[in-house]
């Protein structure tokens, strides 16, 4: 049974030097791993909403760690306090490190003040995934939405983040949009900061 215990120090992992982040693995290796993640979660849930939630939770854990790692390595431990600052951090730095390129676009929602959208023509995680018709609008990009939520939450910008497919004229595969809806307090704080 897993209970509570203290961490044993063999070779203290915190003493190891931080890698520069240049090591790579093959895309197919990651794709296999991600497909196993999705397949395992499919066995644990009965409906699509729960499946998306579990993928998001998995992504959340990744996002938390990515934020800490990147803040230390890329930004010299400086904290973003402004909305646009954290959004451009996610859109450029996080995307560049995780997926090798900056996100395709960052837009502000027209209907609501608190909505922002990061779009990507083809999410890396969705590259080898095909969704059967009976799963409706299920999007494995929920994992990436979780990553973004993890980063934003722990940077002090709580938000609800979801992933959606947006069909594009002339393209066979739809584009994926990560929709970020910030909490009330974030907007109030942003207004106060002027």
């Amino acid at each position: 049974m897993i209970g509570v215990g203290k961490i044993k120090q063999y070779t203290n992992v915190l003493d190891k030097p931080l890698s520069k982040g240049r090591q790579e693995v093959s895309l197919s290796g990651f794709a296999y791993l991600f497909s196993e993640l999705v397949q395992y979660n499919q066995t644990q849930v009965d409906n699509i909403g729960d499946l998306e939630r579990r993928l998001e939770d998995a992504g959340y854990a990744v996002g938390v760690r990515v934020l800490e790692l990147l803040c230390h390595r890329e930004k010299g431990n400086r904290r973003e306090t402004r909305l646009l600052g954290i959004l451009s951090f996610v859109h450029s730095t996080v995307w560049k490190v995780l997926f090798g390129k900056v996100a395709d676009s960052l837009e502000k929602g027209t209907e609501h003040e608190d909505e922002y959208m990061i779009s990507e023509k083809e999410l890396l995680v969705n590259r080898f995934i095909s969704v059967p018709k009976d799963m409706g609008s299920f999007n494995c990009g929920a994992f990436v939405a979780g990553i973004v939520r993890g980063v934003l939450d722990n940077a002090g910008f709580p938000a609800v983040v979801t992933a959606h497919f947006v069909p594009v004229d002339g393209q066979q595969r739809p584009r994926t949009t990560i929709l970020i809806k910030f909490a009330e307090e974030v907007l109030r704080r942003e207004a106060r900061l002027g």
């Binding site: 897993i2 693995v25 093959s26 895309l27 990651f30 939770d57 995780l98």
Partner: protein, 186 residues
Amino acid sequence: MAPAVPRSGDAIFANVERVNAELFTLTYGAIVRQLLTDLEEVEEVNKQLDQMGYNIGIRLIDEFLAKSNVTRCVNFRETAEVIAKVGFKMFLGVTASVTNWDQEGTCCSLILEDNPLVDFVELPDTCQGLYYCNILSGVVRGALEMVSMKTEITWIRDMLRGDDAFELQVKLLKQVPEEYPYKDDE
């Protein structure tokens, strides 16, 4: 047509599309964490990781054979060398070394010094029975089973438990002859 020359692990790795190892590491960590929360028993998690690895291995072998152009391995020694030098390099970006051959040549150890799965990882006291990288043993087992070799894979050394490297013992149980799917007289 001239037979294709088997390509070295480095050459193949340079040609495949790659992603940041940290995304890979963190995703694997998320998987292990989910399993620990759901299953709660460390032994169950080990088994599930092995099963997931097996599922990956049976698909991975196709890609491996397609991209690496290796010729049929003559004996188990060659198989182990190919796995260590080409297979691991192609997918994980690191090479392993093969040692500890027994007399019949059916049992060996793959040693991994560098393992992208375990960056940033420390095992807490409560999970000491966990083989964190058990997915690798499943992958090797699944891949070899698809090329007619039944193997048994165990962890000998594990860096997360205080050893200095990862050592995977691969034991060939038997070679299963390929079954001809059609009856001859039909």
